[in-house]
């Protein structure tokens, strides 16, 4: 079985010299959902940006067997859909429907097909009623749903969500988890939200200082790195 995503020895340095990734190895199999844990600044977002060629460092990144290079980039961006951390940066079109249709039009769908697919995606995330609204009038939870719709509409094979629950209230987090768990794609979740990860993921990896320091089950990683922010956390008890 070819893995959906295979990363070997990935290193990346930002222009200002920050070494954000220092040799990452990673693999995602079809149907799998993996969570990326790790402290702020450990390189999770930087890593994710490599998965559809938005950044390119040293080492190899393969998506469905295709190496991420100039020639394959359109194909790879079709296969890997990223929901970015900040919804306001993702929702830049004047209306919700136009935003969800943005990727479809880029892919060459004609207007009618793009509209009907966009509407279907909005229905999937439960935002059909907002189609003609402006993104800046939506709540944080609604924005996130629309952002997810914009990616789901393109039917990627891998769905990457970068801190999707960060600005949501608890009911919003729960309903987003519900929504995401029903999407059929293989998923990579970047999150600090443990219940969310427990509900959705089988496997967890832990980023630290630009490398994957450990991997295992979600419970395993949480307890090993004391990765639970509730005051019952193990460190307090020790």
């Amino acid at each position: 079985m070819t893995p959906l995503i295979e990363v070997r020895g990935l290193c990346f340095r930002y222009e200002d010299g920050t070494a954000a990734l220092r040799g990452v190895d990673f693999r995602l199999d079809p149907g799998e959902t993996v969570v990326l844990f790790g402290p702020n600044g450990s390189g999770k977002t930087t890593f994710v940006l490599h998965l559809n060629g938005l950044l390119s460092g040293e080492g190899t990144v393969r998506v469905c067997g295709l190496p991420v290079d100039k020639r394959n980039i359109p194909e790879i961006r079709r296969k890997v859909g990223i929901v970015f951390q900040d919804s306001d940066s993702q929702l830049f079109m004047p209306t919700v429907l136009e935003d969800v249709a943005f990727g479809l039009l880029n892919r060459g769908f004609d207007r009618a097909a793009a509209i009907s697919r966009a509407q279907a995606a909005l229905a999937t995330v439960g935002m059909s009623a907002a189609a003609s609204r402006a993104p800046y009038h939506l709540s944080a939870g609604e924005k996130k749903r629309v952002a997810v719709a914009g990616i789901v509409a393109m039917e990627p094979e891998v769905l990457v969500l970068d801190e999707p629950t960060a600005s949501l209230d608890p009911p919003g987090q729960r309903s987003l988890a519900e929504l995401v768990s029903h999407l059929p794609q293989a998923k990579i979740l970047v999150t600090h939200d443990i219940p969310f990860a427990l509900a959705l993921c089988q496997r967890a990896v832990f980023f630290q200082g630009g490398v994957i320091a450990a991997e295992g089950t979600v419970e395993d990683i949480v307890s090993r790195f004391d990765w639970d922010f509730s005051f019952g956390g193990s460190k307090l008890r020790h």
Binding site: G81, D86, Q90, Y136
Partner: protein
């Protein structure tokens, strides 16, 4: 904030809201030119045109007093010049400056309050405005909501810190603090733009934005364009005849 109120008005539903933006732009242009080139009988013409705009506002189901008050933002500027003209012995010109600038501002406001800005910008494409500039305008308007909120947070934070410090903090220090805040805001805005660009690329952006729905010019739009363009001309002709 002003743009939030206007944005809410512009998303209303009325026969005026539903008209094609191009029809409204045409009518607006005719109105503005009719005002700008008028020299005679302004004392009669101005109330006539004001009535026309007020009627449009009522038709558009917008709060009359609210819109009329909002257009008054030009009054301080125009008032200063009117006063100067009056002092310089030309009160008639002073009055004309006031009347013309207020009417023009109100007319633009009526169109802005009945047309969402993105639609209005698309309407301007027909007047030959470069598409790139219109897209820049669209992003500008979209992120006005985001960046001005960030600026407001920063101002509040600065005010909270400054409240205690205000009395003793030297002006120079406060000046530097403000400059530091703007430096941060600039860097954040720039990073925001980079994020947006990445989000565009990741959804397969190929170098140009495609509009989703072609705006359609219906018969009712044509009728509106003709009537709304004729109205100020007719008012002006009637008034100038009567004044003779």
């Amino acid at each position: 904030m002003h743009h939030v109120v206007l944005d809410r008005w512009s998303r209303g539903n009325s026969p005026v809201h539903r008209r094609d933006p191009r029809a409204k732009i045409l009518a607006l242009a005719v109105f503005l030119i009719a005002v700008a080139t008028a020299h005679r009988a302004l004392l009669l013409l101005a109330p006539g045109l004001l009535l026309l705009l007020a009627a449009t506002l009522i038709w558009a189901r917008l709060p009359l007093a609210g819109v009329l008050a909002r257009a008054a933002v030009v009054v301080p500027f125009a008032g200063v010049f009117a006063l100067i003209s009056g002092l310089a012995g030309d009160p008639a010109r002073g009055l004309s400056l006031m009347a013309k600038s207020y009417l023009s501002a109100l007319a633009v406001l009526v169109v802005g309050a009945t047309t969402p800005l993105p639609a209005l910008l698309r309407g301007f494409e027909m007047t030959g405005v470069p598409r790139f500039l219109l897209i820049v305008g669209q992003f500008l308007y979209r992120y006005l909501f985001v960046i001005s909120e960030e600026a407001q947070h920063m101002r509040k934070a600065a005010a909270a810190r400054g409240a205690a410090a205000r009395d003793w903090m030297a002006r120079d220090l406060r000046f530097r603090a403000a400059a530091g805040a703007l430096g941060v805001l600039f860097a954040r805005s720039h990073a925001r733009a980079e994020d947006i660009h990445r989000a565009m690329l990741s959804r397969g952006f190929v170098g140009h934005f495609q509009p989703l729905e072609p705006i359609r010019f219906r018969r009712s739009d044509a009728a509106f364009a003709v009537l709304a363009s004729l109205a100020p001309i007719l008012v002006r002709i009637a008034v100038e005849r009567a004044a003779r």
